[in-house]
Amino acid sequence: MKRETDYGYQIKPVYTPKDIEGFDYQRALGDPGAYPYARGYHETGYRSRMWTQRMTAGLGSSSDANKVLKKYREMGQRGGMQVIHDRVSCSNIDSDHPLGRREAGILGWPGSSLLEFEELMEDIPLTGQSITVLGSSAPSPLRLAYLIVLAEKRGVALSEIHGSVMESPFENYMGQTDVQPLELNLKLFLDVCEYVIRNKIRMRAAIISQHFQESGGNNAQALGVVLSMLKEICGRLIDERGLDFDDVATLPYELVTVGSRFFEEIAKIRALRRMWAKLAREHFKAKKEKSCHLLIAVHTSGRTMTYQQPLNNIARCAIQTLAGAIAGCTALDNATFDNAHAEPSELAARMSLNTQHIVAVETGATDVVDPLAGSYFVELLTDKVEEEGYKMLAKIDELGGMIAAVRKGFITDMLNQEANKKFLEIERKERLVVGVNHLVIPPDEEFEVPIQEVPPDSNAESIARRMEQWKKTRDQAAVRERLSRLHGDAKKGDRFNLMPAIIEAVRVYATAGEISGVIRMARGLSYDPFEMIECPFELHQTACA
């Protein structure tokens, strides 16, 4: 069995002061609330702000997802909600698309129009909790538009709403794909970010390493990749959109995966805070102290939730949640014990939320800030993973930055190799996983997981048919007019911000497929990414000129 970190550092049987010789507390850590923020951003940790305790929702129709959200609130979801798109709206096509009608609502929320968002949020406040809607990068501008329009309709001041609806354009290369080309995802992502910053909207952009790690990337690679993503995105917002770093820095948050290798995961998050603070201050010349704070949300690892002996996953989830808590996170959502089988059942969701509450109120882990600081082992691990992370950052810098690295296939190649390595480690029993390659039981003795099925009256076809019918009831002239304007705007070059036109189109209930379709057409792409349907509208010529 290997006794090394996932990035290959050999772990010794014991650590002593010698291992951190020359350790300078102020330089390496600083007090909680002080640069370089390795110990977190709040002097009193969770006593001043508890992490947001949330679960991921989204399955079946929008009304089904709405019921689940309400249920989660009853179960003790605190501080925020999180919804994930279905595969259909992730790809910016509509439920009534030939491919959409096969999968609408199967793996998430069918969020391809404002109508769906209104139903999702029925009787759920937009304020007093963070609103997080994720799934893929492509629908980012739509999600922001839904939120802006719904806030207006409800008469809620936009400044009162916070959360995250934007996702970085790199996920397509980290094992979680949508069909939109990188150039377009990047352009739209920058548009949304610029719009949010200029209008002082409190929406954060997820720069996600979660998928990278859930697809097999190791901790050190993840740090390098996250820093490169942040560097690239912030750099472009400054250079291409003329924004100030201290404004840009209010934008990103990082969704990081935490697995079961307890100390290493804690070290990674501590290192990430320190690395961002240095990047902000040294590279971007941050003027505000707050710009050195990177909000870090933790997702406990779905990859580690085994298919075999699923109840073991409750133990894994607890260890990972404790790691996330001790590391000092802003928000936490859990993979559920049935993760390898289906979308979370009510039972599984309750177990995960309860796990968070047990860690929060029973263990004492929230009483004190960064309790592992000063541990020879943890400080060494923090330095090590940081060191290796910087090596990766340097390598990506050498390739010309994150976008260049993606284009050269560097990221996907690295990920595939690492995934393959992890697979072989388990196969060769170099890493043991209980129930998978250790203490295995025959399949007929397995605990049968209750499967969360899509509610029978909201299968994909019925969601599709509803959308088909509903589309006809819209003000067609208004939809056509707004889409024509959007089409015209989309021809005005990469730096012309499309958000205003997208918001106007969403206001008259233009759908994800339509909005994305006309933008694609303006860029010389097919209306439908799958080339199965044609643009249903005759766009105004004047607008296209």
Binding site: R87, V88, R102, T177, A342, N416, N420
Partner: protein, 145 residues
């Protein structure tokens, strides 16, 4: 000579499922066992998969499903049968609940490999069950007259 020499398989995702890692890892394992993998990637419909199976003349089809889109997986089997090439086995991998195994196999899925399946099991199954193109029935058109 490797166990899989001479065998040609399709490895594909189906529908809008975007979880590519499993399919890519399996492709590498099969390649390393000497198998030729035609990798179709994401966003394949059942019709596209069957079309590729005909043109590539493959011996087995492996579908990675992490998106609970079983109707489409079964549709592949039905389309193969409709084209008279139901002798090409369809196998499936991914996070498929055991409670679904019965109905999937009843619908003609030859084997299911849940997470944690060993490469030995996957390669072994393919080597023993791939349609052997030599022995496979001659296409209709070839048989005529």
């Amino acid at each position: 000579m490797n166990a899989g020499t001479g065998i040609k398989v399709i490895v594909t995702m189906i529908g809008l499922d975007g979880h590519t890692t499993g399919a890519e890892t399996v492709s590498m394992i099969l390649r390393d066992a000497g198998i030729e993998v035609v990798y179709l990637g994401c966003n394949q419909t059942p019709e596209m998969i069957v079309d590729a199976a005909v043109q590539e003349d493959v011996d087995i089809i492996g579908i990675s499903s992490h998106a609970a889109n079983y109707d489409q997986v079964i549709q592949v089997v039905n389309l193969l049968r409709a084209k008279n090439i139901g002798d090409i086995p369809v196998i499936c991998g991914g996070n498929i609940p055991r409670s679904r195994f019965g109905s999937l196999k009843g619908s003609g899925i030859a084997e299911i490999f849940p997470p944690g399946s060993s490469s030995e099991a996957i390669v072994g199954y393919i080597v023993n069950n791939a349609r052997k193109a030599y022995a496979a029935p001659i296409p209709e058109a070839l048989r005529a007259s």
